[in-house]
């Protein structure tokens, strides 16, 4: 297969598949090594996926809990990595753990709050009015009001700086699904923030 770029600049589908397959295999190899007790391999997996985990947690738990809980997600994964059947599915598996631990934290808080409806609990508010962080939290709150399908992909893209292909690789979603989620989610986010383009508003 020729690896010269076609005139339109797009990689042949086959080449993209080869790259994806290569990355896939590399990740599977890392997981296998981590299973065997290779701690450097696990640390590499951590480096590759911590932003995905953190970004997902931002849409599910109070923002100040996200970093701490991210560490716990990896601790949980480390202790249970032998239960992962398909080494190439580490990202989606980790995403499942993330959702579960976030839900668990929710239940803990609900139980500790003596019956308060945890679903009604708002994200923790930032009392440092006027700060850059306060503005970030305000926008995150709006992202969290979007359909769940869009929340993760938007947070991973806008907060954690992952590209669409990286989001797809981490989460197991197809490029197409990530692209649709990003574009539709962004349109909705812009509307709710009052940032809709004049063209979109008038067309």
């Amino acid at each position: 297969m020729s690896l010269a770029l076609p005139a339109d600049g797009n990689l042949p589908i086959g080449h993209a598949s080869m790259q994806a397959r290569s990355a896939h295999d590399a990740e599977a190899a890392l997981v296998s090594a981590a299973r065997s007790g290779n701690r450097a391999a696990f640390a590499t997996l951590y480096d590759r996926h911590v932003r995905m985990v953190h970004g997902m947690l931002l849409t599910r738990v109070p923002h100040h809990d996200a970093a701490d809980l991210a560490q716990e997600v990896f601790l949980h994964a480390m202790n249970r990595i032998e239960t992962l059947r398909d080494p190439s599915s580490f990202g989606p598996w980790l995403a499942t753990i993330t959702r579960r631990l976030a839900a668990q934290l929710h239940r803990q808080r609900a139980a500790s709050a003596k019956g308060e409806d945890a679903r009604a609990a708002p994200p923790s508010s930032d009392t440092d009015a006027g700060s850059a962080r306060s503005e970030a939290i305000r926008i995150l709150t709006v992202i969290r009001s979007l359909p769940e399908t869009y929340q993760d992909t938007l947070t991973l893209r806008l907060v954690e700086g992952l590209t669409g292909p990286q989001i797809a690789a981490c989460t197991g979603l197809s490029h197409g699904s990530v692209r649709v989620n990003l574009h539709r989610g962004m349109a909705m986010l812009k509307q709710r923030l009052g940032l809709a383009d004049a063209v979109e508003q008038t067309s």
Binding site: F42, G176, H183, M186, S203
Partner: protein
């Protein structure tokens, strides 16, 4: 297939939103900048980065980096091939410490059988093979008992305070104190021992089992467990439990007057204190188990297969099943 959407331009293959490349979309870029304060940043206690360091890939650079908080857990991942007499690296953080009474310079080696002691103003960091590390605080006496690949790493804390983080499978790293052994299940914790041999364990990540013979206290993140000579490890409790609850528990574990103390414990228990109540099921007198069971069941009904009579009789599988079900409360 992309559905047509009103007010939505067709997607571009290399658009800035998807690929982060191409002409910058000013609105998106502004949102990225505004959301940047929430982006993940490795915390000071980023133990997995520490793990990479301890694996040797960046050992020099990380030893020069900011302090990393590590807790001692009783899990030992002994490095393959590390002989029993292998020494651990030590670095002075403050003041002057000694190893077997010899002053420790900026760095040194801590070998099996040796005593490491810190003074009133000294602290050191100890690399635990390649599985984590321990920060030894002021006025501490610590001995390295064993360091054996794939079998066991074991320290003895005679007095003082240590914080350690260990990245290892469960039950490979142990810290002996005068009245209990801290057994790591993958976590970070602080362990203190005073001159009388009494101790305090507080877990900030993962789990520790605090043990003395058959008596075991499972201590999760956010929980504390006290220990005293002649009694062994007490009953674990969450650090945010009420003062009345904690004091009553201390009396229950270590002083006369357990019956009265139990009433106070049950009265002041919150749902999260199910951790404590579950442990009490096997620590109260037989005629009191029902009281604890009933209070615990108020917080969360026992799962299928766990029967009141079984718990009253101390049925171990039922106790374990209920513990796993209660886990979510803590």
């Amino acid at each position: 297939m992309i559905e047509s959407q009103p007010n939505l331009r067709p997607f571009d293959d290399d658009d800035y939103l998807f690929s982060g490349e191409g002409p910058v979309d000013a609105t998106i870029a502004e949102l990225e900048a505004k959301l940047a304060p929430l982006r993940y940043r490795p915390p000071a206690t980023d133990w997995l980065r520490a793990q990479r360091v301890f694996s040797g890939s960046n050992r020099g650079a990380l030893l020069a980096a900011a302090a990393i908080l590590i807790m001692v857990t009783a899990v030992s991942w002994v490095q393959v091939g590390l002989p029993d007499s292998a020494a651990w690296s030590v670095r002075t953080l403050a003041g002057t410490a000694t190893i077997d009474s010899a002053d420790l310079s900026a760095t040194g080696q801590f070998a099996v059988g040796q005593w490491l002691e810190t003074g009133a103003r000294s602290r050191v960091r100890v690399d635990v093979a390649d599985i984590g590390g321990v920060t030894v605080h002021e006025n501490s006496r610590l001995r390295l008992l064993r360091s054996e690949a794939l079998r066991e790493h074991r320290l003895q804390l005679a007095q003082g305070k240590i914080e350690a983080f260990i990245f290892a499978p469960p039950r490979l790293f142990f810290v002996d104190t005068p009245s209990a052994i801290a057994v790591d299940y993958g976590c970070q914790y602080t362990l203190e021992v005073d001159e009388s041999g009494a101790g305090r364990l507080e877990v900030t990540l993962g789990w520790v089992s605090f043990e003395d013979g058959d008596r075991r206290s499972f201590v999760p993140r956010g929980a504390v467990c006290l220990t005293e000579p002649e009694h062994g490890p007490g009953t674990p409790f969450f650090a945010d439990a009420t003062a009345a609850f904690r004091e009553a528990l201390r009396v229950f574990d270590f002083e006369p007057g357990r019956e009265t103390a139990l009433d106070v414990i049950l009265d002041h228990a919150r749902p999260r204190d199910a951790l404590t109540l579950w442990h009490l099921l096997t620590r109260v007198e037989n005629d009191q188990i029902g009281l604890v069971y009933d209070r615990l069941a108020e917080f969360r009904a026992p799962p299928d297969g766990v029967k009141r009579q079984g718990i009253l009789r101390g049925n171990r599988p039922m106790l374990e099943r209920w513990r796993r079900d209660l886990n979510y409360l803590w």
